[in-house]
Symmetry: C2
Subunit: 543 residues, 2 copies
């Protein structure tokens, strides 16, 4: 016997903008049930905290498959325990974020058939497109006397804002309203063949809710938010074309990418990424995990996570759009270019590999075996005395930095092979360095122990030895993550996440001297500061 319940999804509709289509949800007698209100709340919590790793259709990716065929076997009690306390396999604990009742409902929800979210047409996207400042009112020069090329654009994750911080004075200039839990912010960059106007001036945010915001750093603070649109219900990454004309953003749901007019954010073209993975199976939830501008080519790099494919998208003619689908392995997550801008280095984290794509030939170049769940975040490139140019990554699954040669022309025998590894105290998400610095920094965000989670480690480029472990904060419920150098490479900025008190501006950024590794300043008044983007470094590919 089967019965059928109809869910209006109204909470989700309000919260993340799902069309009020009233999705039908099928529930078999074997599946547990929830009241409509509890179902909707659990669905929202699932979307916010679980879908990233497990998928909205719960087929699994970085996280496990959570379809009823698997979850019903585990049962309510065991599922509640896993959600509460996490697992050694990489599952986070949520007992500090959700109440017992919320965890119980989540455990029930994942034993029910996953509802399929609606599609989003280009017309729907366009209905969200807003102009806050008219193009004709854009200034022709910076309207403030500040050194905007040393600004830091900072994600304030749980506030749904981006802070603009003056790197010289370390003062917060403004907080700009953005989408929910912005994942990445990208600006125009110097490009080898295409040339954008006013490189570094315009920045684009992508929210977890698919909202895109355009920021103009030449404006006075209150006018910096100049345009907005929405291109998905769930999204992760964004990039600007080398010529500055197009913005491209990638959806988790619907599984697609959208090319927008960079001036107005008007959506111009939608390309579905639903497809067939490298094993020959159709994947409905084939999510766009990462999107980058290719520094030397008129193309975007689009990582289609579940397909195990990098799609190199030529933006020269979007009505006759050319895409090269480069096969590698699942599940593609986050990456960065080598110093020449030719090779894209991306983590296939569930496969424990770094995948290297040659953007010049538009082909797979290599795959490098690394440890458990590589995750470079913004990544780091530097020169090694023996291996020559190298790249490095942290790992979500283990306290280890892996370093590989990335110069196949100057150092062919070292290229795409592990050069060395540095053990750290805990698994982390972000690695960073600067050409003017002797050191490489790695965070340890994923380690469950506060002492380690709150510390970052610094190693020497020549000795490969950890030279300092820096406890960035000691406050309970806080963690240290994500490093960014200032324009000159003389300072390192580290975020302190107020994970537990995420509704208040009790987070901070701690600034260290890049040479002495001593604390210089604490920038307070930030809410869950996460990724930070120094204008000069980003526009000049200083990774």
């Amino acid at each position: 016997m089967m019965k059928k319940v109809k869910t209006a999804l109204s909470v989700l509709t309000m919260a993340i903008g799902f069309a009020a289509t009233g999705i039908s949800v099928s529930v078999s007698a074997a599946e547990p049930t929830l009241s409509k209100a509890d179902f909707e709340k659990a669905q929202l919590h699932y979307f916010q905290r679980c879908a990233g790793c497990h998928g909205v259709l719960r087929k699994g990716a970085t996280g496990k498959n959570l379809e009823p065929k698997n979850t019903l076997k585990k049962g309510q009690k065991r599922l509640e325990k896993i959600i509460s306390y996490g697992t050694e396999g990489g599952m986070n604990n949520f007992d500090d974020i959700f109440s017992k009742n919320e965890i119980s409902n989540l455990a029930t929800f994942i034993q029910m058939t996953p509802p399929v979210p609606p599609e989003m047409s280009i017309e729907q996207m366009r209905s969200h497109t807003k102009e806050y400042v008219a193009l004709k009112d854009y200034p022709t020069k910076p309207m403030h006397g500040l050194n905007w090329k040393n600004f830091f654009v900072v994600i304030e994750r749980d506030a749904g804002t981006a802070a603009i911080i003056d790197g010289d004075t370390k003062k917060i200039i403004t907080h700009i309203d953005t989408g929910y839990a912005v994942h990445v912010i990208k600006g125009t960059e110097h490009h080898k063949v295409d040339h954008a106007k006013d490189v570094g001036r315009f920045w684009y945010t992508i929210g977890r809710d698919g909202k895109v915001n355009k920021i103009d750093l030449w404006q006075t603070p209150e006018k910096m938010l100049v345009a907005e649109t929405k291109m998905a219900y769930d999204a992760r990454d964004i990039a600007v074309s080398g010529d500055g004309k197009y913005v491209i953003a990638g959806g988790y749901w619907p599984a697609h990418f959208v090319i927008m007019d960079a001036e107005t954010l008007n959506p111009l073209k939608v390309i579905s990424t639903r497809g067939v993975n490298t094993k020959g199976e159709f994947i409905n939830e084939a999510r766009v995990a990462a999107i980058y501008t290719t520094p030397n080519e008129p193309t975007f790099m689009v990582a289609v996570k579940e397909l195990g494919q990098m799609w190199q998208v030529d933006y020269r003619d979007i009505e006759n759009l050319t895409i090269t689908q480069i096969d590698s392995t699942e599940f593609l997550h986050d990456g960065f270019f080598d110093p020449t801008g030719r090779y894209f280095q991306i983590a296939a984290n569930a496969s424990n590999k770094m995948v290297i794509v040659d953007s010049q030939t538009r082909k797979l170049e290599a795959m490098i075996d690394v440890e458990s769940l590589p995750h470079p975040g913004p990544g780091a490139n530097w020169n090694d005395k023996e291996c020559g140019p190298v790249g490095g990554t942290t790992h979500l699954g283990t306290g280890l930095v892996s370093v590989w040669g990335n110069d196949p022309i100057g150092h062919p025998d070292k290229a795409w092979k592990l050069c060395y590894e540095v053990e750290t105290d805990g698994a982390g998400a972000f690695i960073r360095t600067h050409e003017n610095s002797q050191f490489v920094w790695a965070d340890q965000l994923k380690h469950p122990e506060p002492e380690i989670q709150q510390s970052v480690q610094v190693f020497d480029k020549d000795t490969h030895e950890i030279v300092k472990t820096i406890r960035v904060t000691t406050e309970p419920g806080k963690a240290a993550l994500h490093m960014e150098f200032n324009k000159g490479g003389t300072e390192v900025w580290v975020s302190v996440w107020n994970r537990k008190d995420a509704k208040n501006p009790t987070g901070e950024i701690v600034v260290y001297d890049a040479k002495t590794l001593k604390e210089i300043k604490r920038i307070k008044g930030l809410t869950t500061p996460t990724g930070k983007f120094n204008v000069y470094n980003r526009m000049n590919h200083k990774t």
Copy 2:
């Protein structure tokens, strides 16, 4: 109140090879119901006779949208009438094919929520791959003393066979088992940049059931079927790469195309065509209507019907597959190249346009407004005294041949504009000519009157006047369709479809003298002969 029925799809499973997944079908109280047996039979009938134009998800394409939101308004009686007697809008009558009871069940079925058919993985396809003759046993020269380059490969639609007919003696050499209702058969062709071995020797059939068969014309008749696979549940077209290494076939469901090893038919790569149409809407049933080899480029042309896009697929590196998605308009159906092999001319039949794609620049070249539902079938190119090189099409919706200039280099002022039109007595599906002939032939298959449906019309390339109307058959329940010239261009072969008596070999091919237009011979013993492919003409692009 909603209830839920579970349908095992067993009839369909047996008949067309759907995986026995037991699809769940949701039925609202407002929808009528059918017994399980009647549902399955109606679903099979729908698949065989309706899905081509209306789609399995019934979103509509060449035919109307048949989702319950529309069909429930029409109601049982009106729907039965439309299915029985057709409409002036182009809907066929089915009172001669289905019983009253079958029509009643079909009318009910289309008021119910459409069941979604399953996916097909590459592993499933591979489980169908069969080698009837081992590669090592392929002969090194023709094993019969016949003039194989004047063979005709003939689709016997309702028998699920292909007949091989000797063009010199007009004798049927063999009937080869193929998939259900083969739509197209293609062989290797002469190519400008790539060169296949033994051009014209190997032929590939694609069945409506997705079955692919490989035919070796050098074999003795009983061994001509050398390999087989299955790449979809529903399919329409196939092509061979210029180098003869790959076969590519397009699916209606799943919406994808598959690249196979042309030697073994082993499926190598599957690409989903589900995507976003030119209006910015996601289309789940984005079907591959037509696939052609590009004569001058290392690419395939893939027409994605519902997206209104031609996908030009570069086959040089299938692990780093490059596709150019060329926007035009819906719904792309069937096409042919111009004589130079550079421009692909395809009907967007529901838009009443011919779409021209430049395979050299991989861009849209032009769109030409024509009359109701253009359908060129194999197409026809010839020289006009005034316009120079021209192409022409028949129309499914009206008795008219439209002729346009197709030489933008030699005759730029005439290119991609209508040169002239010739009125015929009835709407047709196929047009054909030959460089050695003074005449162009058009059938009138879609006209409801037997006298017209059974006649083809011939017009003069210089005067643009109909010179003869040829009644190919007078037998009730038969129709005349599809013309093909022999190798020398001295004969025209016309099919006589035994539409009503489709289970018996009572169809025939009537051979006419291409100059005098007089009947030479009737080749009997064929079951619903449809498309015919002369080896020499097809390998040399004689359209």
